[in-house]
């Protein structure tokens, strides 16, 4: 399963510069869990998993630019 960005902006894996990442590759996640943030127009929107599974890999780097429809992460 792919986690898609619904909006453009900058992708962050941590809730704040001094914080731990929301999730790391290989971690189990539950449906609705936040896996990162996208910043656009000075707003930070949480990116959530739609279903439970294991987050296999991130397709966008921390601080990477995303566009709507881009795959952020793969969940199996």
């Amino acid at each position: 399963m792919e986690i898609i960005s619904p909006l453009p902006g900058v992708f962050y894996r941590k809730p704040g510069p001094d914080k731990e990442p929301y999730v790391n590759e290989g971690d189990a996640i539950v449906a609705g869990q936040t896996i990162g943030l996208v910043e656009i127009m000075k707003q930070f929107s949480e990116v959530r998993a739609e279903a439970a599974g294991v987050l296999v890999s991130f397709k966008i780097d921390d601080f990477g630019i995303v566009n709507p429809g881009d795959v952020i992460a793969i969940v199996e």
Binding site: I4, L7, P8, V10, M41, K42, Q43, S45, I65, N67
Partner: protein, 321 residues
Amino acid sequence: MGFDIIEPGLSTTVQDQGRIGYYRYGIPQGGSMDQYSASLGNRLVGNTHKEAVLECTYIGPRITMTSDATIAVTGAPVDVFVNGDSVPQYERLSLKSGDELKFGVIKGGTKYFIAVHGGLDVPEVLGSRSTYPIGSIGGVNGRAIAAGDSISIGKKIDNGLPVLQSIPEADRPVFSPTVNVRVMLGLYNHNLSDKGLKKFLDGEWTLTPIADRMGLRYSGPGVEWKKREQPFGAGQDPSNIVDAGYAVGSIQIPGGTQPIILHRDAVSGGGYAMVATVISADMDLVARSSPGTKTRFVSVTMDEALEARREMTARDARIWS
């Protein structure tokens, strides 16, 4: 009579043709960022130009109707769902009380519009229903819509025009990853060096994610300024001027690196040199640009700008007949 907001979307605001006549007091005209797309929605649902619509940014709202309504979704391409079923954009849609309206992932552009027959019945402030969030005026309590809001629909309207079921393909706006934006040079292009002006007009500029109703920032080759002694009252950077009024659509280049187009909610004055101004006919084109859009600034004369405005007005008159 109206609808309830279940989820508000990223930044969904009530907008109309704008708050005209107060710019000189520092209140921007605002209004739908892509006026043409918004007007097509009003045309489809049988309104006049003046009714207020919902402007959705990237992520639209989820709405439950509390009365029957005729609506249309225009502007940026997006999947539209009524009770989970896909329905077309640029068409007149009949919703029943209890219907749920929601949206998929935006496929281009930044803004799509929900027009409703009768318009959105929020109070007029200084002659407009447009939301200006920084000034906390207009729209729903001066802010973007929020979950739990109930928005009323205005009274039925007879605009005297034949019913239009859908907007023909040829009349729909285009959302392109490359655009030529027509500008008139000035008022401060004389502060650019010849090489700087050439870089501005010959360069390809890419819209950054730093873009909203106030302004849109572009990255690209940068510019160069003439060497001059900064006058009293101007900042030390050559991109600074003694404060002056900003024309709507002004392009300033703080530091000389990233041009910013001032759009409908921008401030009315300040201390950056405006090297050029987007012509009125191309303000909607700028509003349709999403981050990553490759942009060239094309210099036109006043006559060419006025001709472009006449063409825009003629197209509008044809659609509203």
